[in-house]
Symmetry: C2
């Protein structure tokens, strides 16, 4: 059976302007691979409602799980929650359950639950809240869309909160061989293996490392026996 | 006049599986911002021809410049050149000019220009070659699509080769203020500034730094005088 599929939507001008380097995609990709969920596509769009809504609709309809990162804070440029409500045809307002989470938290910390903070309790009507153990303001789930914060520590905590809710597949197993030969010398022998092991995926990732040219050959399969067979064949093809 | 727009397409299973962290988007985003070109969207897709062709078509038709990264090496999983030819309706084969570049280079270095390496001379019929001072195998330009290598050092060299060919806009100027208050306290006063300076873009990027919560407020404009006015107002709103 094929694995469940996923897409990621990163929302934020700061990534597209080169101000911030996105860290959440790399984190999520690793977690999904571990759980046998195939990440098929990532998109990064700016804090623009039309662009966000279009990307949400396009991605949610083609994968089993859509994860978003960014745009759920208290400032004027945080518009993700409203865009999700729009994309999935739900109404949105301050919700009592989210408001209570924030009210309790800010009361304890002596901060005011002002209008800006209250925006973080704006949640689409039928959404399920995602626990945020770092800074309380929740993420949420609407249909197959998991809406999470952009700050990496909060994003990672939310990912941890939602992983138990996901139906994983057979984890993709992988083995890697470092070959210190130019990719042009590797390609020919490698394609013979690709032909012989049609059920194993072969990737060649070139590197340059202190003047040494080579490639990491990564082979992937859900079947550990086949993976071992292919790896043995690979190692014989490229002895050290 | 609005700035030219751009999109980036990152091609490669290794990013989606979490094996490799993409570095090229961050580099390109910074270069484009410097040159007054607005990066509107980034997509990452796997080494799958249908996905690559669909993304090429969708992005190329909506922006002035499309940049791609990855999939132009000599191995079986390098299928970008063929996908670009397909997406833009051009034929593709080993081209004499690209073949000569490779032949000269490998002759000097005593390596064989074998069938695998020759794949890197497969270039769409009407493409313009992009210089690769690092490892010779060229990138290429088809219409508004700039096809470059995935290895970061080669990608960066190719970006440097193409920048003089791009028509930039007025560079976006920015100033940044670090405010050590919770975003929930920043949001209210900030939205007054957003309303007062409609022609300046305000972004709020929260951080947590050794237990200190705060946000970097980044303001952006092409007009340096307006930027200074807005920054003065911002600094008065959030004195240290």
């Amino acid at each position: 059976m094929p694995n469940p599929t996923a897409a990621m939507l990163v929302i934020g001008d700061e990534i597209l302007s080169g101000r911030t380097r996105d860290a959440n995609t790399f984190h999520l990709a690793g977690v999904l691979t571990e759980h046998g969920i195939d990440l098929k596509e990532v998109r990064v769009v700016s804090d623009d409602a039309a662009a966000i809504v279009a990307a949400l609709r396009a991605l949610a309809s083609t994968v089993d799980y859509l994860f978003t990162s960014g745009g759920i804070g208290p400032t004027h440029d945080d518009i993700t929650a409203d865009c999700v409500a729009d994309a999935f045809g739900q109404s949105i307002d301050v919700r009592a359950d989210a408001r209570k989470l924030l009210a309790d938290y800010y009361e304890k910390s002596g901060k005011e639950l002002n209008a800006a903070r209250l925006r973080m309790a704006r949640i689409p009507e039928k959404a399920i809240l995602i626990d945020n153990p770092v800074s309380i303001a929740p993420g949420f789930i609407v249909e197959n869309c998991y809406v999470m914060a952009g700050v990496p520590s909060v994003f990672q905590a939310m990912v941890q909160s939602v992983v138990p809710l996901l139906t994983g597949g057979a984890p993709m197993l992988s083995k890697s061989l470092r070959v210190e030969r130019g990719e042009g010398d590797i390609a020919g022998p490698l394609s013979e293996l690709v032909a012989a092991y049609g059920d194993v995926s072969f990737g060649s990732y070139p590197f340059q490392d202190n003047g040494i040219y080579g490639a990491n050959i990564v082979i992937r399969s859900q079947d550990s026996a086949r993976l071992e067979q292919a790896f043995t064949a690979l190692s014989e093809k490229f002895p050290e």
